[in-house]
Symmetry: C2
């Protein structure tokens, strides 16, 4: 995919050239970023607010496939995935650090594409890139991102605050990123079998974009602030709905009931899932990578939220001993199990 | 190297088992660590002080060789390398996040060794491990660490504050880590040629330890505070003295003169370098990984510092137009060039 005619060898930039080259256009936007790239450490000032820190590692062949992931999208997604964790604390993301490992065979232009996607995400979400590391890799592309943010102590929303009777809410729709991945993997196999066949993704833009270019839900954080609702617990949906709700109930020492008919599914997600012989609900429960926000609210906050079309109420919190259950459309009761993405068995289930 | 008889497959721990298993013994020590492992993000409170952030990535085959690096040492070193950046800002390190990528072939016991080394370093340097990520890797071992610390604004020491006439100081001695690496690589080749021959490292403990188990110089930061000296600039020596002093002079828009005879060398480093046909001074200038502190002080602070045997004054800052020079023992003048470790040409020079 790097068949550009103009390729620049990274080594030609010299010892300090690469970082300088990649970071020279960074303009610091946040008052809290006192010193960014260029010293042993970045210096930040959160002026009495609490500091939030989260970190993620993305490895080629595990988290992304360069055969169908444009580098600019990958950079954008890598930042989104991380900012999503700060929003899931009901915080404001303000800085990221970016560490990259890549083969010396990568031309500068490829790294520029990746970086351009990262900076686009930073620009859109008003976040400063304040530091990092670049190194040669003998293996594949390695991306490690740390995101930093802040919040007033009273606003921070943990996973462990859900109370019995609280309503379980989720933003947007689920399962699309997983079904999009199935589609991209199918087209990759078709392409490998016959490189003259063009990928057939027509009409599937939404789910392909859910996989390649997810958007962290800062708008939901803004909305909650506007509605003066503080969730009792919150988490972002990276591993699938089942896994995430179990994090909340486990840490809150509660149980839950979720209703299949209430789980938000985009029609294209459902239709494409069926084309693959998959149950759309299972894609939502176990698929992952949707980067929606899952949160619980007090029943008293229901009236403020009920008119928001982009938030679905999918169930409620019970006492711990009642367990964690899904009520199907047919009225059957299934115990919820975390079957999300387990990197150590390398299965998506 | 993982030929233990008791091996536990990571996958047997289940979806959330690994993180729980590795982190269950962590006891938070710093008041600034409000919430550590277990939520979307960690929560910190620096109570009006500035926040410092630094990050490093270590890749197998580039930064370490598991053929001669015990995993516990590797974990210890990975943390040290990162804390060193916080100390180089004249700050206090207080938290780290640790992201790991490793093959599913790694048994749990191997990851426990690595983690034990990390936690030992955290314990010794009074730092909390507050979060991270673990993921499967198809390639090799991948370690990404972010360190977090704090400082009063007036104490923070940047690279760009050196003034004409300031004295250039360095802690400890230099070149040992690089010469230690040469020794370990030689013994690896001997072993590969004939596995019955035991490594011959007798009497070389100091330089082997400089490579495998460096110690970040928090004691120098404490000493400077006790002496009431604030350096005018500071950096840690990760890439070799030449590269680091050029960072300081470039960012301070100054020049420098360094005297070869003043560069601190341990006798074992010098002797072993010569065994390899290397010039000990070149090892100090370009070798890297010593993790000593290089800093500049006002001449007025000389009297307070001159009796400290673990700090050497190796030269002074000049005006920018005077350039950056090394004065050799023979009185020759050489321009200083950054020839430190360049990961993109994979050379140690």
């Amino acid at each position: 995919m790097f068949e550009q005619t103009d390729k620049t060898e990274i080594a030609s930039l010299g010892e300090f050239g690469l970082i300088d080259h990649l970071t020279k256009h960074i303009v610091i936007k946040n008052k809290s970023s006192i010193k960014g790239v260029g010293d042993d450490a970045a210096v930040l000032d959160f002026e009495g607010k609490k500091t939030l820190i989260s970190t993620d590692m993305l490895l080629e062949g595990i988290h992304f496939d360069l055969a169908f992931t444009p580098l600019k999208h990958l950079g954008y997604k890598a930042i989104q995935v991380n900012l999503s964790d700060i929003y899931a604390m009901n915080g404001i993301a303000s800085q990221v650090t970016v560490s990259l490992g890549f083969s010396s065979k990568f031309p500068l232009e490829a790294i520029e594409e990746l970086y351009a996607g990262m900076l686009l995400a930073c620009e859109k979400f008003n976040v400063d890139l304040i530091g990092g590391d670049t190194t040669s890799s003998r293996q594949g592309l390695v991306i490690s991102i740390t995101s930093i943010g802040y919040a007033d102590e009273k606003d921070i929303t943990y996973r462990n605050g859900a109370q019995e009777g609280d309503l379980i809410c989720v933003s947007g729709d689920l399962g699309g990123a997983y079904v999009g991945l199935q589609l991209l993997e199918r087209e990759k196999q078709v392409y490998l079998a016959n490189p003259n066949i063009q990928p057939d993704l027509e009409g599937k833009d939404y789910i392909v974009e859910r996989q390649l270019k997810p958007e962290a839900r800062i708008d939901i954080i803004d909305l909650l602030a506007k509605l003066k609702i503080k969730p009792t617990s919150m988490i972002d949906v990276s591993d699938g709905l089942a896994s995430e709700i179990l994090h909340i109930t486990r840490q809150s020492k509660k149980g839950c009931k979720i209703y299949e008919e209430k789980i938000p599914l985009d029609p294209m997600t459902a239709e494409t899932a069926r084309e693959f012989g998959l149950d759309p609900t299972v894609c939502a429960l176990n698929g992952g990578e949707d980067y929606e926000l899952l949160f619980t609210i007090k029943q008293a906050d229901y009236d403020s939220m009920k008119h928001d079309v982009d938030i679905s109420i999918i169930g409620y919190i019970t006492e711990e001993s009642a367990g964690n259950y899904l009520i199907t459309k047919a009225g059957n009761v299934h115990e919820l199990k975390a079957q999300g993405w387990n990197a150590f068995t390398s299965t998506n289930s």
